[in-house]
């Protein structure tokens, strides 16, 4: 109790105007910012992998397995911040046992389980099955056993079986794209369906979430590819990078248009909440929304990649621009999540005042734990890469 008082009392000084007395405590903090950010990366990485498969984009083939494993690594971590933020994490299983069918949040468990079990794991399994069987023959000791278990003791690598694998992957991909849309569109719906909150309540929310997810996913794969390839002392495939960057560019154009539409629509409709929202945007959200999300995360990378496309720049410069742009996009998308989640709670539902959020450093909802949750997917990814190497050489041998 004293801790709560100690944390909340100083916030009184930060309030401008009038807020309802219960509103001083901000309810969804940094952990809930992480959740849409992480699931967005999952959906984005998976959609990228699906594009490679469905449209058979040869240039991006080297990123296919990397994308799948990245999606898995981030998906495994995504529910952890959610769980950590619950007041009673030990009761979280109730969402599965007695879900309220009218609640958007209750569907989370089912969408998540469907995506993990029916889409991602299945696709990875079919894609790796042949290699797993080969590695079972090659490895010794615990690794042999591990591969045998992961391959679910299958041993058929006849042409017929391999053709079936390919067919299965295609089917799963076709089911997977709408599933990935569902996974992240649904996260947008959780916010977009709250009519009490004019900052969130928008029918565009799921679609904006989706496209920002695709943007962040492509940027992440670009970054991972550009870091991992030199680490393995290999040469980067510039054609693959060019293709990734142009996909990133087009996804950003769509994302930007949608966000601009949302913005213009709000200003044009100019509802009851417009005064307090413009106060919010020009004040407490100015740096994170206008400077970081719009300028750093969107406009500068857009112009940079457009410049690469227009002028034939040398390869090294292109790589540098791609890398820096992808990094800026990543920061921008994190900021987007921040602006939605935190921004939506900084104004009073009386539309008469603004409150404040002060992040703590320690504690479950603090900065340190959040950084941990951001690093964790990469550790999972490192583990996945080491047992399921996504490189072409591993496939050949």
């Amino acid at each position: 109790m004293e801790e709560v008082t100690k944390h909340l009392l100083p916030l009184f000084k930060e309030i401008t105007g009038f807020i309802y007395p219960n509103e001083i405590e901000l309810h969804w903090k940094i952990l809930i910012v992480l959740y849409p950010y992480l699931t967005g990366l999952v959906a984005g990485a998976f959609i990228l992998a699906s594009l490679v498969k469905i449209f058979n984009v040869k240039e991006m083939q080297p990123t296919y397995r990397v994308s799948l494993l990245t999606a898995l690594g981030f998906l495994l971590v995504a529910p952890l911040p959610l769980l950590a933020h619950l007041g009673h994490p030990e009761r979280s299983y109730e969402i599965f046992l007695t879900p309220n069918s009218k609640s958007a949040m209750a569907m989370f468990g089912f969408v998540y389980a469907w995506y993990l079990m029916a889409v991602l794991l299945l696709e990875i399994w079919f894609d790796y099955r042949r290699d797993l069987i080969r590695w079972t023959g090659k490895e010794k000791g615990w690794k042999k056993l591990l591969y045998r278990i992961i391959s679910l003791f299958s041993s058929d690598i006849s042409d017929k079986a391999l053709t079936f694998d390919k067919k299965a992957i295609r089917v799963i991909t076709v089911i997977g794209i709408p599933s990935a849309f569902l996974l992240h569109g649904y996260v947008g719906f959780i916010f977009g369906s709250i009519k009490a909150n004019p900052w969130w309540s928008s029918v565009l929310m799921p679609i904006v979430f989706l496209f920002s997810a695709i943007v962040s996913g492509i940027a992440l794969i670009l970054l991972i590819y550009m870091i991992i390839v030199p680490m393995r002392s290999k040469l980067m495939d510039i054609k693959c990078l060019d293709k990734l960057a142009s996909y990133l560019f087009y996804a950003m154009i769509v994302d930007f248009s949608l966000e601009a539409l949302d913005f213009i629509h709000r200003i044009y409709e100019s509802e009851e909440s417009i005064k307090i929202l413009s106060e919010l945007v020009s004040g407490k959200l100015f740096v994170s929304l206008i400077v970081i999300q719009l300028l750093v995360g969107m406009l500068i990378p857009l112009f940079a990649i457009a410049a690469v496309k227009m002028f034939h720049l040398p390869e090294e410069l292109r790589k540098l621009i791609y890398f820096v742009s992808a990094l800026m996009v990543q920061i921008g998308i994190f900021s987007t999540r921040w602006n939605v989640v935190i921004g939506g709670q900084l104004f009073s539902k009386s539309f008469r005042g603004l409150t404040a959020y002060k992040m703590t450093f320690l504690g479950l909802e603090g900065l340190l734990v959040s950084i941990g949750f951001l690093i964790l997917p990469f550790l999972v990814l490192y583990f996945l890469f080491s047992i399921l190497p996504p490189w072409e050489e591993a496939r050949e041998s």
Partner: protein, 262 residues
């Protein structure tokens, strides 16, 4: 050979049996719920003989009678063991001051638990009044809709309650409430809100805030019984509800509600 075949048949039968058995087990919760639905005449009676379905509760608030003394806020905190700290309120009182130049000032220092202090008049005030706030016990409650586990629910007598043994503390209901009526109890880490003092109402008593109000600005009663003082209050006054555009259908009715009140 024949023996082998028999064995195989037997295994298959056993497999099918256990498969069906486990599926049936999974469907058990649905079965029990279906059984509940088959008995629509089941009448819930509380331990003390109170029958919820015989009532439908609401509250009227006569804004012109409220003097902003804050005794309701204090009584509510005492009755319901709400933490005394100024961040947790099941009910609070707001003061509105509307100036000549159309500027509106609203305040509620510590939820008005100690009333209000007078402010020096600078600008000319044209209207001023107090507005007690509490959970609106909506008939179309967004908080109940969003609760992922169904821990918050609407009773047969129209009150929204929270089962604190069931709430997982996800705070979605707090976000969904347009009136800021919910908070998280720091001791239980679960959602909390006004219950119309359900424990008192079920014993035939009025909610604590209604009982202590010195000017009878709060009127508690039945909505669906003609002889109720609340029905009379609703008939005799110009009634407004908070944020009607959100279609939450509140059951807290304000007489002479000013357009500035949100």
């Amino acid at each position: 050979m024949n023996n082998d075949l028999q064995q195989e048949n037997y295994d298959r039968r056993k497999f099918c049996q256990s498969l069906l058995g486990s599926i049936a087990f999974l469907l058990l919760p649905i079965q029990s719920r279906a059984a509940e639905k088959k008995n629509p005449n089941r009448v819930l009676v509380l331990g003390n003989g109170y029958i919820p379905s015989d009532h439908y509760w609401g509250m009227g608030i006569d804004i012109s009678k409220c003097i902003g003394c804050g005794r309701c806020v204090d009584a509510c905190k005492m009755e319901n063991k709400v933490p005394r700290e100024p961040f947790f309120f099941r009910t609070w009182v707001e003061r509105y001051r509307i100036y000549e130049d159309d500027e509106t000032q609203v305040d509620s220092p510590e939820g008005a638990i100690n009333g209000f202090t007078t402010v020096p008049f600078g600008n000319h005030v044209i209207r001023s009044f107090f507005v007690p706030k509490l959970c609106n016990q909506c008939d179309n409650p967004p908080c109940v809709q969003v609760c992922p586990v169904g821990a918050t629910f609407i009773t047969e007598d129209g009150v929204i309650l929270v089962d604190s043994d069931y709430c997982i503390g996800c705070r979605y209901c707090v976000q969904a409430c347009p009136y800021g009526a919910r908070f998280i109890n720091p001791f239980t880490s679960t959602a909390e809100k006004c219950t119309f003092c359900y424990h008192r109402v079920a014993k035939g008593m009025a909610p604590a805030c209604v009982e202590v109000c010195p000017t009878q600005a709060r009127i508690f009663g039945e909505i669906r019984k003609k002889a109720s003082p609340l029905v009379r209050f609703i008939r005799m006054n110009n009634i407004g509800v908070l944020k009607p555009n959100l279609n939450t259908e509140p059951k807290v009715y304000y007489a002479d509600l000013d357009g500035e009140v949100r």
